[in-house]
């Protein structure tokens, strides 16, 4: 694999036209910015206008919780998931 694998679910998967995206970048933020450029319909859904991951979205790198600045390498798996903190009755 060249690059990291970003995996999306739910409405993000629908917007992106697929759940798995192989992307190049040195950090989570770079990967997500690249994803937004490739899939402009995702603009603003994961990163806000300050390029911060939205408060109630969690990003995991190889199963460990990460943030915008978490380094990534070729072959890493990045899962983008709604956080349980965002839901309420």
């Amino acid at each position: 694999m060249t690059g990291a694998l970003v995996r999306l679910r739910g409405p993000l998967k629908q917007l992106a036209g697929g759940g798995e995206h192989e992307l190049a970048g040195a950090t989570v933020k770079e990967l997500l910015q690249t994803l937004e450029q490739a899939k402009p319909q995702l603009d603003g859904w994961i990163l806000d206008e300050r390029d911060r991951i939205r408060r109630h979205i969690n990003v995991f790198v190889n199963g460990e919780r990460g943030d915008e600045n978490t380094p990534v390498a070729d072959g890493d798996r990045i899962d983008v998931l709604p956080a349980i903190s965002g839901g309420s009755a």
Partner: protein
């Protein structure tokens, strides 16, 4: 046939009906909060502001609310700043076809292409008083945008808790319109020119555009000079706290409010749901509750959950509550009927 757009905590509901018979005919954005939905009277296009706790506020538009919705562009704050758009509270059409959207943190957007793309109003965003702006309980919300019939670009805004803002040049420049407002939540010796003013709602009388009515955080007010200054008109109401406000377009002396007991107890007073009507510019108020729940009914009616269509004796009124009930009146408040029951908590009601 009347079509209602009901924004709820769990999606947009479309209701259709006539007289006192209404039915739900569509649900969109299932599971997502829809803060506000409206239909542009110029283009006929429908808009819905979805406020996802996960993905942030998004505005969608559609030519048919039962069909495909498209996301609007440009509703974001400057990338170089330290703030993000938190919420979209309202959308309003001006006479020249310009659309305005208000949101949190106290921001105004405009669109001149029918709502497909939007631009931030920089004059308000960069206003020198902004560092002093304080949010209300619902955030720093720009919830009321009031154009002037026949004079496009002459707007009055209500922002919680930053008072009334006026422009005569489509938002190039802004000035305050706060004279006469007395906030009871500030000390008596607070500066008279404070802008920490928690406006709850603002409406203009179309046939007398310099007359406006305003629901304040404790107080109902009237302006006769285009929202430059205000006169208290809350005497005669069971409570002068509340959020919703509508006017009868045919009668500049008319206004309807739905009082809640108090800011610390935001339910209909005495468990009795009543709309209050004035026909003498606030000199007196009459309850209009025939057909509304009258016992152990502790409802909360939110800011955008009250609307009207028609005028005079044919004025139709509709409001929804966080209980999930929607009520309608076909005769200017004379009688009421349930238009829908057991919906999710109602955030907004607009006649399409």
């Amino acid at each position: 046939m009347t079509e209602l757009l009901v924004g709820t905590k769990k999606g947009l509901f479309v209701l259709e009906g006539e007289g006192d018979e209404f039915a739900v005919t569509a649900r969109q954005f299932a599971g997502e909060p829809v803060e506000y939905a409206m239909r542009d009277p110029h283009s006929g296009r429908y808009f819905a502001a979805m406020i996802s706790p996960f993905y942030g506020p998004k505005l969608f538009f559609a030519d048919d609310p039962r069909g495909e919705w498209h996301q609007a562009a440009g509703l974001a704050l400057p990338e170089e700043g330290d703030a993000s758009l938190e919420r979209l509270w309202t959308l309003v059409a001006d006479d020249d076809g310009t659309l305005y959207a208000g949101g949190d943190p106290g921001v105004l957007f405009s669109s001149r292409d029918g709502g497909e793309s939007w631009a931030l109003n920089r004059a308000l965003w960069e206003h020198p008083t902004r560092p002093q702006w304080q949010p209300g309980g619902g955030g720093l919300c720009l919830h009321s945008i009031v154009p002037t019939p026949g004079t496009p670009g002459r707007l009055a805004l209500g922002i919680s808790a930053v008072g009334i803002w006026l422009t005569d040049d489509a938002g190039e420049t802004w000035r305050h319109g706060n004279q006469g407002i007395r906030p009871r939540y500030l000390p008596d010796d607070a500066p008279k020119d404070t802008i920490t003013l928690c406006i709850h709602n603002l409406k203009r009388a179309p046939k007398q555009p310099d007359r406006l009515f305003m629901q304040f955080h404790g107080g109902v007010y009237r302006s006769d000079d285009g929202a430059e200054s205000w006169t208290y008109i809350g005497d005669g109401l069971p409570s002068d706290f509340g959020f919703p406000l509508v006017v009868d377009p045919a009668d500049p002396d008319s206004a309807y409010v739905i009082p809640l007991k108090a800011d610390m107890d935001r339910v209909t007073p005495e468990g009795h749901v009543r709309v209050y009507e004035t026909r003498d510019a606030g000199a007196s108020w009459e309850p209009r509750g025939d057909g509304l729940p009258a016992e152990h009914a502790y409802l909360t009616i939110l800011r955008q959950a009250f609307d009207a269509t028609g005028e005079g004796e044919g004025l139709e009124l509709y409001f929804g509550a966080t209980s999930g009930d929607v009520f309608g009146s076909p005769d200017a408040g004379g009688s009421w009927f349930p238009a829908a029951v057991r919906l999710p908590p109602v955030y907004s009601v607009r006649v399409a």
